[in-house]
């Protein structure tokens, strides 16, 4: 058992998979010699050498295109897109190419690859370096979408993503890189498509992802302490595949559901979850499902503004308290 940062968990997860399988290769901008702009890939070049850990030019299309070509001919590449906002520059590969090639070719083309990317706000980077864009990817058939909230999950879900035969986009939250957590020694492999109940409770279900998980947990503690309300918090972890059974079972127990989403309001991932719950658990509900999201705005840079935009512990607490007592 060791205490590890979320940042160091990324490097450990990649190293675990590269040690295991020589077909795993890693490419991206400044990931090798510099160890990544978030220092999440320090040491990999030294450990695995320049043939397997390769710096690229600022060519996001070339990075994802090359990852696809390598994957479809036998390698298992991990490609880094530095900030998730930049996937807009190479969205073709996510939306049209490696997500669809298996289907279009009647199963001939296989693309076992992972796109890792720094997602989310809180660092005062402004509207083009702070977005939570997991919902952009959730809508693409053929792509899997994962977003861990703890160092342990970073390793386990990254390993599962690398070993998965389908293309996976792996959202690392930039504001979680410094967060520490306990991680056991030895190999760690988790399962995609499994949500985790991170705080059991009986009065309401809170569905959260990535940085919203620690905030939902903090809100749940406050609701308990200040209002005697006992919330169950579920870390969704994987948007595709989606573990609806864990969520539906929780809602059946609690009768209320809240989503806490960092993405802007429209078509955020919570909308899909709420629609599933409305379809399949309507008669379990004792009140309306409520979505707590970033408003439908570009993210501002100034700390006072950004803090107001992204769901805070205070806003989560207040929204749930008001809704439950209405």
């Amino acid at each position: 058992m060791a205490e590890l940062t979320y940042r160091d968990a990324v490097a450990r997860g990649i190293a675990q998979e590269m040690s295991r399988d020589s077909d795993v290769v890693f490419l991206g901008e400044d990931i090798a010699k510099a160890g990544g702009v978030f220092k999440a890939t320090v040491g990999l070049l030294e450990q695995f050498g320049p043939l397997r850990v390769r710096d690229t030019p600022i060519s996001e299309q070339a990075i994802l295109g090359a990852a696809m070509g390598a994957a479809m001919t036998g390698l298992k590449p991990i490609a880094e897109i530095m900030f998730s906002d930049f996937i807009a520059v190479c969205f073709d590969y996510l939306a049209n190419e490696f997500s669809k090639s298996r289907y279009m070719t009647n199963g001939q083309v296989k693309c076992p690859l992972v796109v890792r990317t720094g997602n989310g706000g809180g660092a005062r980077f402004g509207a083009q370096h702070s977005q939570s864009v997991e919902n952009w990817c959730m809508m693409i058939p053929g792509l899997k979408v994962v977003a861990p909230s703890t160092p342990l999950d970073v390793i386990g879900l990254l390993a599962a993503s690398v070993r998965d035969p389908d293309p996976v986009i792996f959202f690392e939250h930039k504001s979680l890189y410094a967060v520490k957590g306990e991680v056991p020694d030895g190999e760690i492999v988790d399962t995609l498509g499994t949500a985790k109940i991170v705080r059991p409770g009986k009065d309401a279900t809170i569905l959260a992802l990535a940085m919203m998980v620690p905030r939902a947990l903090a809100a749940a503690e406050r609701l308990k302490a200040e209002h005697g309300v006992d919330c169950e918090v579920i870390d969704v972890r994987s948007l595709v595949p989606l573990d609806t059974q864990t969520m539906l079972a929780s809602v059946a127990r609690t009768g209320r559901v809240f989503t806490v989403e960092e993405n802007p309001r429209l078509c955020g991932w919570g909308a899909e979850l709420v629609s599933i719950i409305a379809d399949e658990a309507f008669y379990d509900l004792d009140g309306p499902p409520v979505r707590i999201t970033t408003p439908h705005i570009p993210l501002p840079a100034a700390d006072a503004l950004e803090d107001l935009a992204i769901p805070s512990v205070q806003r989560i607490t207040n929204t749930i308290q008001r809704s439950l007592s209405a």
Partner: protein, 346 residues
């Protein structure tokens, strides 16, 4: 080494002529061109009969590029094609029936109707896909070449695209990437003078859309006559040999011409009067090659025999496709994910 000369039309490469294109190879390249011509014409006929739906981008007039390049490739080499990919798919040995069946949405189609005209793929023939987003497959070909380099495999990745594709970012990203990593990839530009409905010269900063960009990436400008399968073969072979030997990527530009409109929807009214007729009369790749074959001592009878057998092959394929059932609706939701299904939730 080939010598580079600059002509009024821009840079070009002189290639040696006594480099062993024997009768057997010549007959193969003739057959390949005739097969593409017949199959593409048949695809057009079937469209007029409403048996082929959707769109199709034909390579009538461009047969020599596909035939010459495929002949220069080795088994195991990889082709990356565009939506105008029937010709390259056939040239690698995929059966006419499989191609026509796919265009007709039949169960015997190459992809059982899941891809259609623009996505022909046959991994077992090295046809790694036909890509309908302009430029997307150039970086993908780089990735396949990276795998070959990393694993020490000896195959070359060959990526075909049009003149219009030289103006999209992915073209430039891929060239730079291939050069800095010294990848075994060959980029083949089929300059058919038009990007969709617009003359390429009206939308491109340089006269030769691919060759004039080569120097920006430290590559030799290489151009050849795309209507002459021998010239294509020699130019391609030199580039493939270089890539296979670890010499890195090449960018080739073949000047050619398409006889039909850009796609089914296009009557090609934008062409100047007489242009199509000029190319058909003077620059037709099959006419040129028939004469080349005769000049090299191949007989009329041998060439007629090829034409007859190709016609028969295309007729038989057509009949099989007409008789084949429409693709099974059972496959609507298969192969979205690796487990064979489409489940995104439990």
């Amino acid at each position: 080494m080939a010598k580079t000369q600059t002509t009024a039309a821009g840079p070009s490469v002189l290639v040696r002529t006594n480099d062993g294109i024997d009768a057997d190879l010549r007959l193969r390249m003739y057959r390949s061109q005739v097969q593409i011509r017949e199959a593409e014409q048949r695809a057009n006929d079937l469209f007029l009969q409403n048996l082929v739906k959707g769109t199709s981008h034909l390579s009538l007039g461009q047969e020599a590029v596909a035939a010459g390049c495929a002949a220069a490739m080795q088994p195991g080499d990889l082709s990356f094609c565009t939506y105008r990919g029937h010709a390259h798919t056939l040239a690698r040995g995929v059966a006419v029936e499989k191609v026509l069946g796919e265009l007709m949405g039949r169960d015997n189609g190459l992809l059982r109707g899941k891809g259609g005209s623009m996505h022909l793929t046959s991994i077992e023939h090295g046809v790694m896909g036909s890509y309908a987003i302009i430029g997307a497959h150039l970086p993908i070909a780089c990735g396949a070449a990276w795998r070959a380099q990393y694993k020490g495999d000896k195959d070359v990745s060959v990526c075909f695209f049009g003149d219009g594709t030289t103006n999209i970012g992915a073209f430039h990203e891929a060239l730079n990437f291939a050069v800095i990593w010294k990848l075994p990839v060959v980029f083949v530009c089929e300059n058919n003078l038009y990007m969709e409905y617009t003359p390429i010269s009206e939308v491109t900063a340089v006269a030769n859309p691919a060759a004039d960009r080569a120097s920006a990436y430290g590559l030799q400008p290489i151009m050849a006559d795309g209507q002459d399968a021998d010239a294509v073969y020699r130019t391609a072979k030199a580039a493939f040999d270089k890539a296979r030997a670890g010499g890195g990527p090449s960018l080739l530009e073949f000047k050619t011409y398409r006889y039909s409109g850009h796609s089914r929807a296009d009557p090609a009214k934008y062409r100047p009067a007489g242009e199509l007729e000029h190319w058909k009369a003077n620059r037709d790749p099959i006419k040129i090659y028939r004469q080349r074959a005769l000049d090299s001592g191949i007989s009329h009878a041998q060439l007629d025999e090829i034409e007859g057998s190709v016609k028969q092959e295309v007729d038989q394929a057509t009949e099989k496709c007409k008789a084949a059932p429409p693709t099974s609706v059972d496959i609507l939701c298969t192969d979205v994910y690796a487990d064979g299904g489409w489940a995104w939730r439990n």
